[in-house]
Symmetry: C2
Subunit: 377 residues, 2 copies
């Protein structure tokens, strides 16, 4: 058995669907009226309302349990989803079905890195929304089964100082990771090359909270206007290739040598190519470009960046070039790229050629180390 | 010896620098005044002039023979370059130095796929410029050593019918391949999903001329505005990943089952990941997306698309997942990513673990088959 029966799978990319009262339960009274709330419309659809705007998709891509033929039909009401999408106790039952010990869950309505709140006009309300999400996520979702969830928090993207304070506040509550944008410059914010994010990066480093940069938290890959939607889906991992390259040549890890970054839902099979290409670029072009980077980018990667995959046999076959310690596994429940409830079976199959210790590192121990998570052990 | 001493290296991506009289020698009299010509300015720089515009870089990135510390300094006059850049007889001597039998050369001033001419206001002049380039390339450059050069032609991107006629015209002159845009939609033209290009694709298929889609012929990867230039260089291969995915999910190869496409200067190490990801996407999402594609994208790839690399050990290590028949080698003379005059030595080193027949396929016989080229044998 390459993956021991007693291995406790840790999935580092799953998704919560926020229940209808997450914000109304927790926002200060002055913000309740404009803050997010769900209303059911005449078609029976549950719609988020905030600041006079509406957001029709309460459970984007929450298709777990449906046949593939129905994947494209997004749920329009809570009862269209299996309860594990929005109820942590039901989620745990679904994890048990699939042999998964713990999940790291990203938000739905707020956007993977909280870009919905970044788009709000009233930034006082927006900060309250970030904090309400984090409080709900830690005190209600994760607290329902602390051995089964790794708390992942949002930050106010518009204020690095407030973001640093929110990291410190949530760290005291038990948060273990920060969901941040993979490409802040694509949101109209300064890039990782600037000093703008130093307070955020310093706080993440100080509290040993990795930044999780989920695909789509900095836009989507550009396709031709008439390309089938499948092209966009197939290209998800491009974003992580861009982000990894930006980070490797940026000053981020020189300034914050203990900071760690996870490329969530980015895949891993491209990593050997990209690291070789980055090193080739560094070797040939650093002299005249006057690069500040004094070591090959691949060395920076191995100290700081983690690749995450749902299913990626090309990457598993090239583990020696990636580094076994740099790879973590994802279930992606309840999205359409997930293999739930057959994740454990398929992961075991995918890792069958590896030595036990390598399979265990990918399925469990790397994630425990990266997120300082001991739940279940 | 994994690469036999008598292997004749065929490089499928190199670059010519057009000499100062290419267009003035060949344009009809009515077009000479506005057509491209070189003038030396007061700083001693050789500058292209056409249609009242100037183009300062006569030999973009033509740095062969310079130390790496000087790579960033683009040549500003012909005498800044080694003569092999613009003189085919000198080029052959440089190929002999490096143990290379033949090259497939892309243009410089016209842009890899002729986008300079696409940007001209006078499309009658522009067509004459395309034809003058092709005539020069075949009758002067390649004819100087027909056993050493594979003729690669441009087409008028603004007119599919004229482009088809130019393919037919140059095929009769011995042209073996067409340089086309990797992403025509990024030039403001219809995408590969449209029927717009059918005349071009039909002509390329009819004359067994592969389309060579060079990195940069459809824009450059988008980086953050303050990223070091190294990020852009490292990300060259992203363009080919986008192009491959667009093509695989497009109707192109269903309509033209004998058409072949080369991803020039795109690298190969990412191919196993991308094919697996495309197949995963197809497997899970084709039902509700109603994709017309009836076989996995990886099957389409293996019948139609060729990966090309300068140096790519990650790709060589994953050849079984790419397909040995799908890979060709590139020298990239005289650009800064080239290893000239040590290309053969480094390629031999890179292929040392392969069986002789696989090394020979990559270094020579695949390119001979794809381009129907027998020069030297």
């Amino acid at each position: 058995m390459p993956l021991p029966d007693d291995a406790q799978l840790i999935s580092v990319d799953d998704h919560v669907v926020e229940h209808a009262d997450v914000w109304q339960d927790r926002l200060p009274d002055r913000h309740k009226e404009l803050g997010p709330r769900v209303e059911r419309n005449e078609l029976g659809h549950d719609i988020w309302h905030y600041e006079g705007k509406t957001f029709a998709n309460i459970g984007l891509n929450a298709v777990a349990g449906k046949p593939r033929e129905e994947y494209g039909v997004e749920p329009t009401a809570y009862e269209d989803m299996i309860p594990g999408c929005y109820d942590p106790r039901e989620r745990v039952k679904d994890m048990d079905l699939d042999g998964i010990q713990a999940q790291l869950c990203f938000p739905s309505m707020p956007g993977f890195a909280g870009s919905t709140f970044f788009g709000m006009d009233d930034k006082d309300l927006a900060l309250a929304c970030v904090q309400a999400y984090n409080d709900w996520h830690i005190e209600e979702w994760c607290a329902a089964a602390p051995e089964r969830f790794i708390p992942l928090v949002l930050v106010p993207l518009w204020s690095p100082d407030d973001a640093a304070a929110e990291i410190a506040r949530t760290a005291r509550m038990g948060a273990r990771a920060v969901s941040f944008s993979e490409a802040p410059h694509r949101l109209g914010l300064p890039s990782f090359n600037s000093d703008h994010w130093d307070p955020v990066l310093a706080a993440a480093q100080e509290h040993s909270m990795p930044l999780c940069l989920h695909f789509g938290s900095g836009g989507v890959p550009e396709t031709s206007p008439d390309a089938p939607f499948a092209v966009l889906i197939a290209l998800f991992g491009m974003n992580s290739q861009f982000t990894a390259t930006e980070l490797l040549f940026s000053p981020v890890f020189r300034k914050f040598p203990d900071l760690r970054v996870c490329l969530s839902e980015g895949g891993i099979g491209w990593i050997p190519y990209l690291l070789e290409r980055c090193d080739y670029t560094w070797e040939r072009h650093r002299h005249y470009l006057d690069l500040e980077l004094k070591v090959p980018p691949s060395e920076i990667f191995r100290d700081h960046i983690f690749g995450c995959f749902i299913s990626d046999d090309a990457g598993i076959a090239a583990l020696d070039r990636i580094g076994v310690e740099q790879v973590m596994w994802e279930c992606d429940y309840p999205h359409s790229d997930s293999n739930w409830p057959n994740s454990r079976k398929l992961l075991t199959e995918s890792l069958r050629h590896l030595p036990d210790d390598q399979a265990l590192a990918i399925a469990e121990t790397n994630a425990r180390r990266v997120f300082s998570f001991t739940g279940g052990r």
